[in-house]
């Protein structure tokens, strides 16, 4: 463990704390300001049912979209800084970059993959809904399909990312 790796891990932990704080903020504001049903564990349980007219799933999609976007930006800020070491010295870059292939970081990358794929597909759905004036029913169907796609992509991608850990 070199000093620069420890510095990276400190900044990474800091961004985790900031992300948790953001999730708390989203949760608190949702409880007071959003109007309509509040997000809660009982609501979460009801998401298992599948009546087509329920709009609750798009509310959760909005929260996941917001939190995943924030988390990606937090990681991006750190990633810009750590990749910048390439400009100073290749040795420092290689040393710092070894962290990315450790197993906890690989687990983090699986989470990052889900955040990226969900955020991208849900964003494309929002653009699609805006341009073609799609109704709530069809946009909810699209949301379910993209959820299945993003979970499947994450599972497939995680298999590839985590494979070197088990070999």
């Amino acid at each position: 463990m070199t000093t620069i790796q420890i510095g990276f891990l400190i900044l990474l932990s800091l961004s985790f704390i900031i992300i948790l704080g953001f999730i708390y903020k989203v949760w608190k504001v949702a409880l007071f300001a959003d109007g309509g049903p509040n997000p809660s564990f009982s609501r979460l349980a009801k998401l298992g049912r599948l009546p087509a007219e329920r709009a609750e799933i798009s509310r959760w999609a909005a929260y996941i979209h917001r939190v995943s976007g924030f988390a990606i930006f937090a990681f991006l800020s750190l990633h810009i800084i750590d990749v910048s070491t390439f400009a100073f010295s290749y040795a420092i870059y290689d040393n710092l970059h070894q962290i990315y292939s450790t197993w906890p970081m690989r687990l983090f990358e699986c989470g990052l993959l889900f955040a990226l794929v969900f955020h991208a597909l849900n964003g494309l759905r929002l653009i699609f809904v805006d341009i073609f004036d799609v109704g709530i029913r069809k946009s909810n169907i699209a949301l379910r399909i993209l959820l299945i796609i993003s979970i499947a992509t994450t599972l497939g991608g995680s298999f590839i990312i985590l494979q070197p850990v088990f070999i």
Partner: protein, 122 residues
Amino acid sequence: MKLFISRKLSYIALRTTGLMLAVLALGHFLITHITNDVAETDSSFVISRWSSTLWVVWDVLLLTSALIHAFAGLALVVYDYSKNSKSRLRTLQLLSIFVFILLVTGLMFMAVSLYRIYGTGV
């Protein structure tokens, strides 16, 4: 209400950069984690990747569009969550300074890295 940036510009910028990032960011993740293992993406990987103009352009576009997208998206979050117009303006100013520093840092160190790879020649 005094707006920090035009709503229309922010709406269009968020959607345009979002469409770009759906290709650029997912493509970046694909080549660094799926088609190549992340352990192989060391400095020699970066040097060989940046020997092609496509990937230099790709990375510049990825960096700028990601930061524009992040700023426009977070501006909406600030509009939702700030208590009054004064704190909103202050938060947006801090946010824009932070994003600008990241953009300058990223582009500057990328230019220095390319200079280190190619030297003084073109």
